[in-house]
């Protein structure tokens, strides 16, 4: 447990260069869309939540390559394996710090842009990004040691896994705007998150070991 907290604390201090870049792109896109759709506010109202979730998921999947890359390149993952300590703690700490640095700002931005109107939207962005990071971490771990043509492999592995997540979160928003009653959708997304957590913590150590061969 101590190791876990320590790992999180260490990672949080790191200067998040790539993350700021990604958030900046997001902000730019939102401003562009906002300007363009100022003529059709109704269209904007209906379309906005879906767009926000889609963009958040897209941005998360772009940033997944960096999840383990730095620790791989300097040999820390290899060293951790040799120490025989539990690698799951490391993986979980890594994913959680990544989410704290990328997911929470995304939730805040989405909230600001949508005026904090819909809690389901904010919850949706938070859980969808975390679920996507958990499942994408497996793909990211598998791609660590491959040679050329890496650029297409990670999105190819992650996006098909991410689409059900997006379907669930977007579908929840659509259905509640039509028929109300948001509570089951909170449960559904939370359930998906728990499944992803379980799957990821079993598959990620295996994937890291595979890359180390």
């Amino acid at each position: 447990m101590v190791n876990f907290i320590r790992q999180i604390r260490q990672d949080l201090y790191r200067t998040p260069q790539s993350i700021l870049q990604v958030l900046f792109v997001f902000l730019n896109l939102m401003i562009a869309f906002g300007l363009l759709s100022s003529n059709h506010p109704d269209l904007w109202q209906a379309f906005l939540p879906i767009l926000l979730i889609g963009l958040s998921c897209g941005i998360v999947s772009l940033s997944l390559d960096q999840l383990f890359r730095e620790d791989w390149e300097d040999g820390s993952i290899e060293w951790l394996m040799s120490e025989g300590k539990s690698i799951e703690i490391y993986i979980l700490a890594r994913i959680i710090t990544h989410w704290l640095r990328l997911g929470i700002p995304l939730v805040l931005f989405v909230g600001l842009i949508s005026g904090f109107a819909s809690y389901l939207l904010l919850f949706g962005v938070a859980t969808a990004t975390l679920t996507l990071m958990l499942l994408g971490a497996v793909g990211s771990a598998l791609c660590l040691n491959t040679s050329a043509n890496n650029a297409i492999l990670l999105p190819l592995l992650t996006l098909p896994l991410g689409i059900p997540i997006m379907i669930v979160s977007m579908g929840s928003l659509i259905n509640t705007s039509v028929s109300g009653g948001a509570f089951p959708y909170f449960l559904l997304q939370g359930g998906l998150l728990l499944i992803a957590c379980a799957l990821s913590l079993v598959a990620c150590p295996f994937a890291l070991r595979l890359s180390l061969r």
Binding site: Q10, D74, E78, G84
Partner: protein
């Protein structure tokens, strides 16, 4: 040496990508042993070392004593660049501050203690990584190419440290291209 071996390699066979690296390799590591793996590039020295270190998973052909503690310093230093030397070493080994000071004084590295690793030269980083070995107080040291990037003084310090470790009952497995100036070594040659 008639003491019990602390690590036994028995019939280790390793193939990767259709190439056979070793077949039915057998040897023992006893306390006080320094085993040096030599061979041309690509002959599998690093792979053998990693197998013994249990990367990525422990193999049935490598039998270690129960509770054997090992330290591994690989080809990459595993140092976090944005942290200081002190933070790196304390986090990685769980040693106390006093012990850290003592070891680094011996290695003449104490002036580097609070500098960030990214400001150090390649040789200094290697010295910091190698400082992990005595700090962690483990019995078995597994080191891959210890003296790369080290100047003569630093290399001499490292071999001194190694002699001390072997005298106190520790064991080490190294790979090296350069000659190893230790008093007694067992050499295992791997062919291409």
């Amino acid at each position: 040496m008639t003491s019990h071996p602390i690590l036994i390699v028995s019939n280790l066979t390793y193939t990767y990508a259709g190439r056979l690296l070793f077949r039915d390799l057998c040897f023992e590591v006893c306390p006080g042993d320094a085993i040096v793996l030599v061979g041309p590039n690509g002959s599998g020295k690093t792979t053998l070392l990693r197998c013994m270190a249990g990367i990525p998973e422990s193999r049935p052909a490598i039998i270690k004593n129960k509770g054997l503690k090992q330290s591994y310093v690989g080809h990459l230093n595993a140092l976090k660049l944005h942290q200081t030397v002190r933070q790196n070493l304390l986090n990685q080994t769980g040693a106390t501050s006093e012990r850290l000071m003592k070891i680094l004084l011996e290695k003449r590295l104490s002036s580097l203690l609070d500098r960030e690793v990214r400001t150090l030269s390649v040789g200094q980083r290697r010295q910091v990584a190698l400082a992990r070995l005595p700090l962690s107080e483990t019995k078995l040291w597994l080191v891959d190419e210890p003296t790369t990037h080290l100047d003569k003084t630093a290399a001499a310090h490292f071999w001194e440290m190694m002699e001390k470790h072997l005298k106190t009952g520790g064991a080490a497995v190294l790979t090296s291209h350069a000659p190893v100036p230790l008093s007694k070594t067992k050499v295992i040659t791997l062919n291409g």
